[in-house]
């Protein structure tokens, strides 16, 4: 009975929360409620087809609809998608193979710079002929190319370091990410490859090849309105492909080999699992996801500089994987959603609220402590700047109280 009732109830919930988000376009809470429908969808007992129809309804129809009403929601959704893709990539390395990669952002940076350099006039600085930026359709070629480049860098880094003990590997990957960042930061001389700390812009966006189709249906949408929707669907597509690939890999020989290595490397080797080759493969797959997402990120941002690829970013993605549950695909997505919303909406909202209080000069009266005028609140105190504290708390609390994460992988649940 619940198999029929639950989807209907959920449908009611979805339409209700969606309506709420439309009626209160500034409300973070309404958006959160709407986002939560996907989580509920994961939990309810229903046929897989029903579930995927409902998911498609939310992601393909309602989310873009909300996005056209309030562009900020779409921006948040795109960010969530990008981080979800990164978290899924790191999930393979940390969750499946059990290698702690603290420099994951390096591969992301490599992908982003790959497109940024050739998709902007930057490449003219070292390749004569003035043939840059490349035409927009090259974006898709680079998206595919970046998978190979990412995998290759993963293998090149992995080959020497994968024989190391786990915690050494963590520090080496961290060091590698810092080397990559230092390189992009400083390679504006002797040859100007990356334009250094000033960053690269403008980066070419992907082509609007479907414009004729839209015009055929009589839809006139300005570029400014169309691009966010376009990127939303691109990100959605990439995330779906990554989920599909990850699921196929997980239940294949390769996935089982990875998990065997994670559980006991020596036993896995004794059973004939080619440990180093499998580790390398995991490293390369994770890296290729990250670098493909990097291409997308560069095209979406139009401007990138080394600041976007700091150690913080790696830890943020790690926090997402840990929060959701290492080795769990829905977990990684949930983690990415949670951490991104926390960063983009809750902390920023708190900052704005505090600023408002500060300017209003409200007086706080506390028993025993006397009164305190909020206009005295130091201006340096801004919750939006405390991402590190959030990440730190997530990591420690999860490790102490729930190391398996919020949504641990199903197979482990059964044990």
């Amino acid at each position: 009975m619940t198999r029929f009732l639950a989807p209907i109830g959920l449908l009611a919930y979805i339409s209700g929360s969606c309506l709420l988000a439309i009626l209160y376009p500034q409300s973070v809470l309404a958006f959160l409620l709407f986002e939560a429908s996907l989580l509920l969808l994961y939990y309810i007992p229903a046929h897989a087809k029903v579930k995927s129809t409902l998911a498609a309804l939310v992601l393909v129809v309602l989310m873009p609809l909300l996005g056209t009403i309030n562009g900020y929601y779409l921006e948040v959704a795109i960010q969530i998608g990008i981080y979800a893709a990164l978290a899924l990539g790191l999930n393979i390395v940390v969750g499946f193979v059990g290698l702690l990669n603290l420099g994951f952002v390096a591969f992301y940076a490599i992908g982003a710079y790959l497109w940024a350099i050739f998709g902007s006039p930057q490449a003219n600085a070292f390749i004569t002929g003035g043939g840059f930026p490349l035409a927009p359709y090259w974006f898709f070629i680079f998206l595919v190319l970046s998978i190979g480049v990412g995998a290759l860098t993963g293998v090149v880094l992995g080959l020497p370091v994968l024989r190391l003990r786990g915690d050494y590997l963590a520090v080496v990957t961290l060091g590698f990410a810092e080397v990559v960042r230092a390189l992009v930061n400083n390679l504006d001389k002797p040859i100007n490859l990356t334009n250094g700390p000033r960053g690269i812009s403008p980066i070419v966006k992907p082509p609007l090849f479907f414009r004729p189709v839209l015009e055929f249906f009589g839809l006139q949408i300005t570029d400014a309105k169309l691009y966010p929707l376009y990127f939303y669907f691109l990100v959605l597509l990439v995330v779906c492909v990554i989920i599909l690939v990850t699921r196929r890999l997980e239940s294949s020989r390769i996935g089982r080999a990875w998990k065997a290595i994670r559980e006991d490397e020596i036993a896995a080797a004794a059973m004939g699992v080619p440990v180093v080759r499998m580790k390398l493969l995991g490293f390369a797959v994770g890296a290729s996801f990250a670098s493909a997402v990097g291409v997308l990120f560069a095209a979406k941002q139009v401007f990138i500089n080394p600041e976007s690829f700091t150690f913080m970013e790696s830890i943020g993605v790690l926090a997402m994987v840990i929060l959701g549950g290492m080795g769990s695909i829905p977990g990684a997505i949930l983690g990415a959603t949670g951490v991104t919303i926390l960063n983009l909406q809750l902390l920023k909202g708190l900052s704005l609220w505090l600023n408002g209080l500060r300017q209003s000069g409200a007086v706080l009266t506390l028993p025993l402590l006397g009164s305190y005028s909020l206009s005295q609140l130091p201006v340096q105190f801004e919750p939006a700047k405390y991402e590190r504290m959030v990440f730190g708390l997530i990591l420690i609390l999860m490790m102490i109280f729930r190391p398996q994460g919020v949504l641990p992988p199903r197979r482990e649940q059964r044990k």
């Binding site: 590698f176 080397v179 830890i315 105190f381 405390y386």
Partner: protein, 322 residues
């Protein structure tokens, strides 16, 4: 080439100072690795905490008008001791809160918790200073006698603060050596590092020994923090990241778990970095400059791990879990 020779003594002095700084921080990493077999990622924040304790005390003395009155040696002694005690206690608290509950779980779990602790401490310090002073970039007040210079040779002048770093570090390293090798508690630390289960059977209170190790390592880190602050004068909650990472590199370079190794590794890395910072630009005609010194240090780490993963003096960790 003349220029290269001319600056060499100055570069060497800089390298020695850096080297002792790294050595002091590296001790914290290596001692903890010895007893617990994990990287205390938050050690760099313990180091920064020391630097902040130093600057806070100096600023308070300054605003009380005492800085000019009290004998500078007394001031130095006060801030060094305070920083060592605070950092040591903070390291102990860290162990109690973030690491001890995780004993027996996989090593990755403890490492992730340590990374979390590192981030939490960075922003915790920032939060405190933001509320307390409305800025978290602090500058050490100038102590006149520290900026005086001592001529060593014809064209070599050494600032007093560099001498201070070297002398303090030497005294502390000597003291630590005595502590680890000549005292009962030192023997207990070595026993736990070798085999915690057997040590526990022999009546060594393992948890207390681990706490002591954290205290001693933290105190060394705090000392390094004060010296860092006195020498470079600018500190912020995030300034521990690079020194910490390099000190860890130094610990690995010397052989993790190996106390003389950490000292040697620190010296080698400090020298390497000072040489790279000064000569890279000369050697490449300005194409690559001092900004590549960090790249140098990390490349060194990667190369060491590939070619000599047990470090220069060999690592001292137990084999069972490795």
């Amino acid at each position: 080439m003349d220029l290269a020779l001319e600056i060499l003594p100055q570069v060497l002095v800089e390298g020695i100072v850096l080297g002792f700084m790294y050595a002091l921080i590296a001790l914290g990493y290596t001692m903890v690795y010895g007893v617990l077999e994990f990287i205390n990622f938050a050690h760099s924040e313990i180091f920064v905490l020391g630097a902040f304790v130093g600057v806070e005390i100096l600023l308070m003395l300054q605003s009380a008008g005492l800085l000019a009155v009290v004998h500078p040696a007394a001031v130095l002694l006060l801030i060094i001791l305070a920083a060592m005690v605070v950092s040591g206690l903070a390291a102990m608290a860290l162990e109690r809160i973030a690491y001890r509950p995780l004993q027996g779980s996989p090593r990755l779990v403890a490492l992730i918790s340590a990374i979390g602790a590192s981030f939490l401490l960075q922003d915790g310090l920032r939060l405190f200073e933001s509320l307390w002073r409305n800025t978290f970039y602090l500058t050490y007040p100038t102590l006149d006698f520290l900026d005086r210079t001592v001529p060593l040779a014809a064209n070599v002048v050494v600032p007093v603060k560099s001498i201070l770093v070297v002398v303090t570090a030497l005294v502390m390293l000597w003291g630590l050596n005595l502590f680890v090798n000549r005292t009962r508690i030192g023997a207990a630390i070595r026993a736990v590092a070798q085999d915690p289960d057997t040590a526990s059977l022999m009546g060594v209170p393992v948890n207390r020994v681990i706490a002591t190790t954290f205290f001693v390592g933290g105190a060394m880190g705090g000392l390094a923090g004060v010296l860092f602050g006195l020498h470079y004068s600018l500190v912020n909650p995030y300034s521990g990241f690079f020194p910490g990472l390099k000190a860890f590199t130094a610990a690995v370079l010397g052989g993790i778990g190996n106390i003389p190794g950490a000292m040697l590794g620190g010296m080698v890395l400090g020298m390497l970095e000072a040489l790279a910072a000064s000569y890279l630009s000369l050697a490449t005609d300005g194409a690559f400059g001092a900004e590549y010194k960090d790249v140098f240090a990390f490349t060194a780490l990667i190369l060491i791990l590939i070619f000599r993963p047990k470090g220069l003096l060999g690592e001292k960790v137990r084999e069972d879990r490795a």
